[in-house]
């Protein structure tokens, strides 16, 4: 194969070049391109569509933001309730332990008195 300038190509390459001459574009291609361009510009560029997109964007942002805030609030409430429950449980436990301690102290006092009586 010769990668020579075009004027020094061999016969096969010249025939290939002849076979690969540019073809005319299909009829109406230019028109279709211009129409597609006009459609695209109309849909992308009109002020109406820009406002609609902005409104849709804002609405979406509001919905998403609201959802996030609501979820955070719910989680905070759940956390607060759980904290209250834990504190209540600790109070109950504390009270029960106090009762047990009082009973044990009373029991120890009784035992001490009986021992003293026996030794006398």
């Amino acid at each position: 194969m010769s990668l020579e300038p075009m004027d020094r190509m061999d016969e096969f390459e010249q025939q290939l070049r002849t076979a690969l001459v540019r073809q005319a574009a299909p009829e109406g291609l230019k028109q279709r391109i211009l129409e597609a361009r006009a459609r695209r510009r109309a849909s992308v560029g009109s002020p109406q569509s820009v406002w609609m997109r902005m409104a849709a964007g804002l609405l979406l942002a509001a919905v998403v933001g609201g959802g996030v805030l609501w979820k955070r609030h719910q989680e905070e409430q759940r956390g607060e309730a759980a904290r209250e429950q834990v504190i209540t449980a600790l109070r109950v436990t504390n009270r029960a332990l106090d009762n047990v301690e009082i009973k044990l102290a009373a029991h120890d006092t009784r035992d001490g008195e009986q021992e003293q009586r026996r030794t006398r």
Binding site: Q15, R17, A19, Q23, A24, I33, L34
Partner: protein, 190 residues
């Protein structure tokens, strides 16, 4: 390009539609797909026109984007492995639209059977008359790779032409676009 220097989009379509369509058609061997690609390429040009600096830049950009879009389209379509001649002539009538010589039609069909990289190098070389360096720049590939694709592609095409078109020539008689040496003679030296 400044606003004043920027060419009219319609004029650019007029000037380059044949090139863009032919590149896409020869890459894809599908007239409908080639039209779609050409349309996409020009719409993309409309978006990017402000960034292009000169008429040469526009031409280079069009070639590069057309080849790249065609390659993408081929990959999406996962090129079918049946007879490309039947596909081109029956399914899409790609070659009926142009009164090309029968040999030219078969040459294009043979080209469509080459591997994609070789095909794009050959199309840019023989349709667009680009040098290997220019092809390398267009395809963003090393010059050595492009030269290799050109050599291998041409060699394969010669071999295919020698076997397929030799048969055709024997059936149809003299070759209309050759100077009489015929394909076998031309295909002999590679």
């Amino acid at each position: 390009m400044s606003e004043q220097e920027r060419p009219d989009f319609e004029a650019l379509v007029d000037e380059h539609q044949s090139m863009v369509f032919s590149l896409a058609l020869r890459m894809t061997a599908d007239r409908g797909l080639a039209e779609e690609i050409a349309q996409d390429v020009f719409l993309e040009l409309d978006r990017c026109l402000g960034q292009l600096e000169s008429a040469e830049h526009v031409l280079y950009w069009l070639r590069r984007v057309t080849m790249s879009r065609s390659t993408d389209a081929l990959r999406r379509r996962k090129t079918r492995r049946f007879d490309q001649w039947v596909e081109m002539e029956d399914a899409h009538g790609a070659l009926e639209a142009e009164p090309a010589s029968p040999l030219g039609v078969r040459m294009e069909a043979l080209l469509a059977t080459l591997p994609e990289a070789q095909r794009e190098a050959l199309i840019l070389r023989y349709q667009e008359d680009l040098s290997p360096e220019e092809i390398a720049q267009t395809l963003a590939a090393p010059v050595a790779t492009v030269k290799s694709h050109l050599q291998r592609g041409l060699k394969m095409l010669r071999a295919k032409a020698a076997s397929s078109l030799g048969e055709f020539i024997r059936k149809k008689g003299p070759v209309p676009i050759s100077n009489g040496a015929g394909w076998e003679g031309a295909g002999g030296e590679s």
